[in-house]
Amino acid sequence: MKLCITSQGDNLESQIDTRFGRCQYFIIADSETLEFEAVKNPNIDGMGGVGIQSGQLMSEKEVKVVLTGNVGPNAFQTLQAAKVDIITGISGTVKEVIEKYKTGELKPVEKPSVDSNFGKK
């Protein structure tokens, strides 16, 4: 399964970043092999619409599940349309999150966890 974890750094030991649209890195990892790609967020300094752009990036990378802290309404809508599952409220390192995901404990959410522009504040 192709997962994407929002992260503060570029490897599996990094702490996760709670913001989706404005995270530092997207760690795109295979949950079985733990092979991963660290994508520096190209939208981090965007004026607006960053959640939408980051959502589109998930679609381009064919990610199936996004694991992050919070997702705003526009990003949520984009991810849903792209048929990406969304898991919010995670913490710890990227690796811990992947392991926790594999236990089946983490459940996808059905609605955005924060208002628009949350990550800006």
Binding site: V50, I52, Q53, G55, Q56, S59, N74, A81, A82
Partner: protein, 291 residues
């Protein structure tokens, strides 16, 4: 600056004076409306479209009301090949192109038309989205045009532009600009012959005024300052203006009659007739500065 426009017969001048302030609640609308009343024959344009209140003081008889639209894209998915070009060219990030879907976030779209222009498949057509409305009216010799943005709507600038398209030639146009230094304020004051900055002599007032001064200097718009409630603060605003060579064109001391008139939707001129002369003098001063 806009070119000066003269009518050969009457030599009446088209003039645009904008009234701005670094923050809300400084008396911007009070100055705008009283200046209009003192001039008598003028056109007031309320560009504070998020919270318009000039009409409360002008009390115009509204003669027309029309909606304002911006064009937003609509995607025909049967023609679209999901190439992603539209999302790439959209400066406002209002489009997401997915593998088999295109999402348009209409509330982020500025209606620039770039996506339609660049779509090779002709899959985009523009549809109108209402962002607010414009009212026009009259009160004696005063003409009134006011914009009102729909609640929760973010696209103030296109509506302000529409209001400003109604500037009247051969007349004095007074623009009540939105407070602050947002792009709405810039849209409202751009192309004015002169901008009047209304401020209060408090540390916050000064701080916000300095931001406005920086914007006006960048826009090359001549400006002057009116200090409202001029006796209720410190002298730092005056010191700043002197140091920066900014003319202080009027001071309005605190008067509870002015505050009372404001709360009742009355002009200062109505409450304190001696102010009529002061606003006429202000107008004469502004005319001199513009010419």
């Amino acid at each position: 600056m806009t070119p000066r426009l003269f009518d050969s017969k009457t030599l009446l001048l088209t003039m645009i004076i904008s009234i701005a302030s670094g923050k809300g609640g400084t008396g911007k609308t009070t100055v705008a409306t009283n200046l209009a009343f003192a001039i008598g024959k003028a056109h007031i344009l309320d560009c504070d479209v998020e919270e318009p209140n000039s009409h409360i003081f002008i009390k115009p008889e509204i003669t027309s009301k029309s909606p304002v639209y911006i064009p937003v894209p609509e995607i025909d998915k049967s023609k679209c090949d999901f190439c992603g070009k539209c999302a790439e060219v959209c400066a406002y990030k209002a489009i997401a192109v997915l593998k088999t879907d295109v999402l348009v976030f209409k509330e982020l779209c500025h209606g620039c038309g770039a996506c339609e222009y660049f779509c090779q498949k002709k899959a985009i057509k523009e549809v109108n989205r209402t962002i607010g409305y414009i009212e026009t009216g009259e009160k004696g010799d005063l003409l009134f045009t006011g914009g009102k943005l729909n609640i929760g709507e973010a696209m103030a600038a296109p509506l302000i532009k529409e209001v400003k398209n109604r500037v009247k030639l051969q007349m004095t146009n007074i623009i009540d600009a939105p407070p602050g230094t947002s792009c709405s304020m810039i849209e409202a004051v751009t192309a004015s012959d002169f901008c009047v900055l209304v401020t209060e002599p408090t540390p916050f007032g000064l701080n916000d005024m300095i931001l406005s001064v920086e914007v006006l200097r960048k826009l090359h718009i001549p400006f002057g300052v009116i200090i409202n409630r001029s006796d209720l603060g410190d002298d730092k605003t005056v010191t700043y203006c002197e140091k920066e060579n900014i003319p202080i064109i009027m001071k309005i001391p605190f008067d509870k009659n002015i505050a009372m008139a404001y709360s009742q939707g009355k002009s200062i001129i109505e409450a304190l007739p001696e102010y009529k002369q002061k606003f006429i003098a202000l107008y004469e001063d502004l005319k001199e500065r513009i010419e």
